[in-house]
Amino acid sequence: MPKPIHLWAFLQGIGHYPSGWRHADADPRGVFTMDYYRKVAQTAERGCFDAIVFGDQLQSRGAGGRTPQRLAMPTLDPMSLLSAMASVTQHVGLVATVSTTYNTPEMLAERFGTLDRISGGRAGWNIVTTAHPDTAPNFGETELPEKSLRYRLAAQTVAETSALWDGLNAQHGPSPQLRPVYVQAGQSNDGRDFAARTAEAIFCPAATIEDGIAFRSDLRRRIAEAGRDPDGVKIMPGLSFMLADTPEEAIARDEALLALADEALCIEYLSESLGFDITSYPADGPIPAEAIVAGTILPAADIARALEKPVAQGVTLGAFASRFVRTPRGHNIFRGTPEQMAEMMIAWVEAGACDGFTLQPAFMASELEMFVERVVPLLQARGALRKAYPGTTLRETMGLTRLPSEMAA
């Protein structure tokens, strides 16, 4: 019997490809309606997913004060979406990404406390410290705290929030999980150490099975060093996928979707990643490297390093942008048949590269449905995926260690 595979559905607007909203089967208007979220949540639950996960930002997208015209945004507040999805599902977990830097412990305790209660114990908190410089002015500040300070503050905020949950549980009776499942996604040294001390599940990029093994081994070592049981923490790398009946068709589908990312879209997308608006520069001209490095709101040294190679190659701005959109962001990208995908997933988990996957549909809602209809039954037939939920709380669903106080409750 293969090891059990855990599944998260990482939902982000209309999907993870910047051009995904343009696909004929995508439903970009749906993201403003309850019907869409009802359908998506129930699809994930039909597929026995452990949880639905939303990322989040506390600033509007764009660069240099310009909002992109060709990217699907804005999206709706994930905490509200997950609360509404709780209302139309019974089992699937609900993991919200929420910042420790721009929420008070009281906001965090009340919000997640209420979500855990009203969902019957399905709340998860992806703990982030917020890294985008545009966030600070939205909260009346001029700049973000420096990174290691943000992580120190995060540890303090989590501890204070946890103490507030103890108080709320004493006052109103225990919420089903006492506190949400802690999720972490930081990749830096600070982030990994924080995850090792705190997280019950970890989201990460892993482009290859070797990357996955290396990351999981490193985290398991850090978790053990922090005095915790590594088996109590699930590692859930991202997984993009494009399915079809043959590998050739899958590649063709992927290429067709990428082709919908026209040059203007790619330049807006690149602007955002550079932290500098390049939309007014000619697409067929050179990369304005000096202006970008001088004007970026992101760490200038990182941006300069990213520009070195394309500048040396002499590619045009438009060509660089188009190439950038196609460059994998470190996540595993699968293109092939449902059978191949199921085999790959089982192989990764068997090899110790991960405990499950955070699926990143290219566009919604049909790509998630295709996975649930075509891949989930194969995983279930192999005994790698349950056919029913084992309990009601997210901690039970994920097979996580119950909190000592949870057992006492």
Binding site: S80, R117, N138, A264
Partner: protein, 281 residues
Amino acid sequence: MTRRFLLSASLADPALADPAVAGPVLDQAQAAGLDLLLLGRAGAVPFDAQVLAAWAAPRLTRMGVVPVIPPRLGHPFHVARALSAVDYLAGGLLGWNPVAEGEEPEQIADLVQATRALWDGWDADTLVIDKASGHYLDTHKVRASHYEGRWYKTQGPVNAMRPLQDHPLLVVDAASPFAVPGVDLAIAAEGQSAPAAARLLRRVTLTDDPGALADAFAQGDIDGIHVDLAGASPELSSFAERFAALASPAPDATGTLRQRLGLPLPEILSAPVNASVKESL
């Protein structure tokens, strides 16, 4: 539009965060003919009402939900995002009631104005969503708000659409008054100084005389009533028995809360609510 007698109630029971309680309560409140249900109330906010309002959204058929929001649970940037989402999810059946918990009234007014400034950073007709041309939105219709108040300072733009109703209905309780323009509904007891609002709900109890309230409505003194309920189940039945007849005939059950209650659009409105999004609802 015929002037209708409005029925409102609040519940601040912590048990409302239990789905086994909240589900039947919502059904019962809607069956009782309530136009508005406040989640929490000035002086009693035992949960995050924004989360409960989102949970309630897919269950609403005609009633508006009104999360009660004190500053400790709501920075304007977070409030703007959460209420935008819930207003869409609820098909425009959302209000909000900001309240002080010891803060000065001016801080609550500041919170409201900062939140509105963020919403107004998006014109109502910003979205284009044209797959063929790849044009998703009009960048000229999105602006930073640069709001600076005494308590809140927020730049924007906010990463949330302007709400479906442009702004959810703003409810001000005379128990926690503050002064801003464009208040949709005020709640005040008889003889209590009521905040200026488009509609006035009189705070009554389950023992008040429906006949006297019908007279007050007929004379234009009030637009409806509000009752603070101690617990849900038996009290909602008493509420319905005593007061539901005041609101007959049953109101039209289509459109947003703002439309159903015949309330004016917020003044800062620059264009009609985004037609393309609204049509798909």
